[in-house]
Symmetry: C2
Subunit: 463 residues, 2 copies
């Protein structure tokens, strides 16, 4: 019954086969916005999925965004707000104004509303909270009491909780009455008299069961409830490892207070996975829409740290000024050794940071992995010592220079491998998130080692 | 009803509050393995979730892994295999042997089995395929016909398809009979007579509906079916943007041939998000368990590319040997300028690669973002020109050197910002994945510019 597509089909540009919005739609929207035709704008917005509409906001100029918000204002779709990057969200929130923003937020799930409210500056936040209906406001304020990056901030407050002694038929009738149910749910949670979760029934299992089946016979009990103060990164790991679609959240007394669903966790998984990359270079995720001045300011902090380490490396070179004055070839070759160390170290670092995050690197196997990186460093060190040494010898017609850079390369690649894996392990041991800080420590080590080893050896043996 | 935990509770090490397996469990498992007590090993394995058991494989020595596979062989839990890193998976698959491996694979969902089989070397793959029951083998072979990284490889073949004219009661009866249903499902797909998807009903909506409700009145039609040859990265983006839990997959004729569920997509989302980071430095995700020799070989390819660019940068320095011989301070300071350019460029690059992947950067706004990065580069260039220039002046007591390195810093940070964002845009325009190749192009540009600008200016104005 399955017919794999003919090979040439893969080349067809099927609709939706490109990331991003159809440029024709963007052009039509811009034409409608420039022409001031609000009806046409709303018609285009209706055609689009809310995620596409959110994308449109990012692709047009700031002036057109103002027009777009105004055109959509009477029918502003709340769902797009969580999809906007941070800088855009602030802009749109500011332009919507307190009342329209409050109305939009009241239509969102509590976790999304919470996330957005938390991102507002304090005066604006208080104004918006006051404009939100009291019951929803109370839920949001309770949510804000949980630590940032905790499970409590991710959870949806409406839950489907049923007692174990009910049968499937009773549950179905309860669900059909449908009061206070969440918008979307994937599992029924079974609770005891004190409202503590004791099991769960996936919906697909539930719909396949006969009406008379007792929930206690149907429930699965292989689960760990999530503490409301658990770190979101750990929640994400649990969802991923156990292939969950939703999970119960409990308070300190073990009582069910909400659920976390996979759609919220997906965002955490993505930002955790790319977190390393973004944080390593000191940039925030939303940067593409952030104003120029705040972008420059944010990035300058990281550049300042790098400037200090660059001067530290330069001061190592400074120790050998006399040698360089005698043999200028040293100056020409020295960046090679440092740069190769930086690259090799980053390879080991990348693997170690990921392995730490996934629990694949722990005290049980740390020593083994450090030894392994040392051996990998030696092997590649040997290979590149020969390549670089031979090239340097040929270039400067001096075997001693070739020997020195070869030996320095060997040393630096071994140091790089070992430092690349021990730096994040040590930081992690001291409770410091290794992703953002490891890289700068590592490149300092490899620069200093690279310059010192090469120039030092050359001072001893070439001069 | 919600009681946020008292602040001190956050410091309690609640069970499960650490990534990774409890060290006590690892120790018990090792003791049982070393003692050759297979019953005790199986008892420990039964206590663990399959994701924890998979973790245990990674934390113990290779010799103990052999014992662990042997102890578990009679009851080997197939679910752990997809959770193992690539190198471990090959090791375990090899040790299980053809028949036990085939039995394990036959118990997995088709997409997982497909993924594992595809990773085996050809002779082994054919042996295992022959040992798998014929019906499952046929499904797997059909799956292998889809391009790697296509939606077809991710999909589960069993689907829940119902006609629009059924009512809820008929559907429930059909589900309760439950033949050929997938293990897990979250949505019912509504198909026309030609088995083409025309709508879908989320299970939570389904269980809330009355028995007499027609599916046609219940179905949601706001969906795009996924072509079997669609790229997995685009599938992941669609799931994320639209908060899907499952989606129908269609063949070239538009007929429903399978479903993709969120648990498979989560893996794609994670590897796409971290892909940049891993691929930028030429390491594969599973590297922590890969054998030393293949790790060294894989990484050396990337280091070789970097060696070539390092020699290119060195040759730029070589042009100015005469200047360096006269003023050794140039050699001391020149790496600072190159290193700052590399860091600033990587910041712009990181943002651009992510924005391209999420559709936030396209032809519509590319020019605006390039200009923005140019301005950010000028602002930080100006700041760091002053800082570096002043520091260099003080260090070497020479205002001309300070002016030269300041000017070179300004030039390199502007070039870095513009190159950081244009490099991935241009690669993407030519259909090349920007993540792996951008970084090496960029650092070559910033190294060459940094050395050339500083040494060139110094040759003109300092000597």
């Amino acid at each position: 019954m399955v017919t794999p597509p003919p090979p040439e089909a893969a080349d067809d540009a099927a609709p939706g086969d490109e990331v991003g919005l159809d440029p024709a739609v963007v052009a039509r929207a811009l034409a409608a916005l420039d022409g001031g035709d609000a009806d046409a704008v709303r018609a285009i917005a209706r055609e689009l999925h809310y995620s596409e509409l959110a994308q449109l906001f990012g692709l047009i100029r700031p002036e057109s965004r103002v027009d777009l918000v105004d055109a959509l204002r009477p029918v502003f779709p709340a769902e797009i707000i969580p999809q906007l990057d941070e800088a855009l969200r602030d802009e749109v929130a500011g332009q919507l104004g307190t009342d329209d923003l409050a109305r939009a937020l009241a239509n969102l799930d509590t976790d999304d509303a919470l996330y957005l409210i938390d991102g507002l500056e304090e005066t604006k936040r208080n104004q918006v909270l006051l404009a939100i209906p009291r019951a929803i406001r109370a839920q949001i304020e309770e949510g804000l009491a949980f630590p940032e990056d905790s499970a409590g901030r991710l959870m949806q407050r409406d839950v489907v909780a049923v007692p174990a002694h009910w049968d499937v038929g009773t549950c179905i009738d309860y669900l059909r009455r449908g009061q206070d149910l969440p918008d979307d749910f994937y599992d029924l949670f079974v609770v005891d008299q004190r409202h503590r979760p004791i099991g769960w029934v996936p919906l697909d299992k539930f719909v396949r069961a006969q009406r008379a089946t007792r929930i206690s016979d149907l429930q699965e009990t292989d689960f760990e409830p999530i503490q409301a103060d658990m770190e979101q990164a750990l929640v994400a790991r649990m969802f991923k490892d156990r292939d969950l679609t939703s999970a119960p959240v409990v308070d300190a007394g073990g009582r069910l207070i909400g659920t976390i669903t996979i759609d919220d966790v997906v965002d955490v998984i993505e930002s955790e996975a790319e977190g390393g990359l973004m944080r390593l270079s000191g940039v925030a995720g939303s940067d593409v829409h952030a104003p120029v001045l705040s972008t420059a300011r944010l990035r300058s902090a990281w550049l300042l740290v790098n400037l200090c380490t660059a001067f530290l490396a330069a001061s190592v070179i400074g120790l050998f000024e006399a040698s360089i004055a005698k043999v200028v070839a040293l100056a020409v070759l020295m960046p090679i050794c440092a740069s190769m160390g930086g690259n090799a170290g980053t390879q080991a670092l990348t693997v170690a940071v990921r392995a730490l995050a996934t629990g694949q690197l722990s005290a049980a196997n740390a020593a083994r992995i450090v030894v392994k990186e040392g051996i990998v460093g030696s092997l590649n060190g040997f290979l590149f010592a020969i390549l670089t040494g031979a090239a340097a010898w040929l270039w400067f017609q001096d075997p001693a220079i070739g020997l020195c850079i070869g030996a320095a390369m060997m040393i630096n690649l071994i140091v790089a491998g070992i430092a690349g894996v021990t730096t994040p392990i040590v930081l992690d041991r001291f409770g410091i998130d290794p992703a953002p800080s490891s890289a700068v420590i590592l490149t300092t080590v490899t620069d200093v080692t690279g310059f010192f080893a090469f120039l030092g050896l050359a001072t001893l043996f070439v001069l």
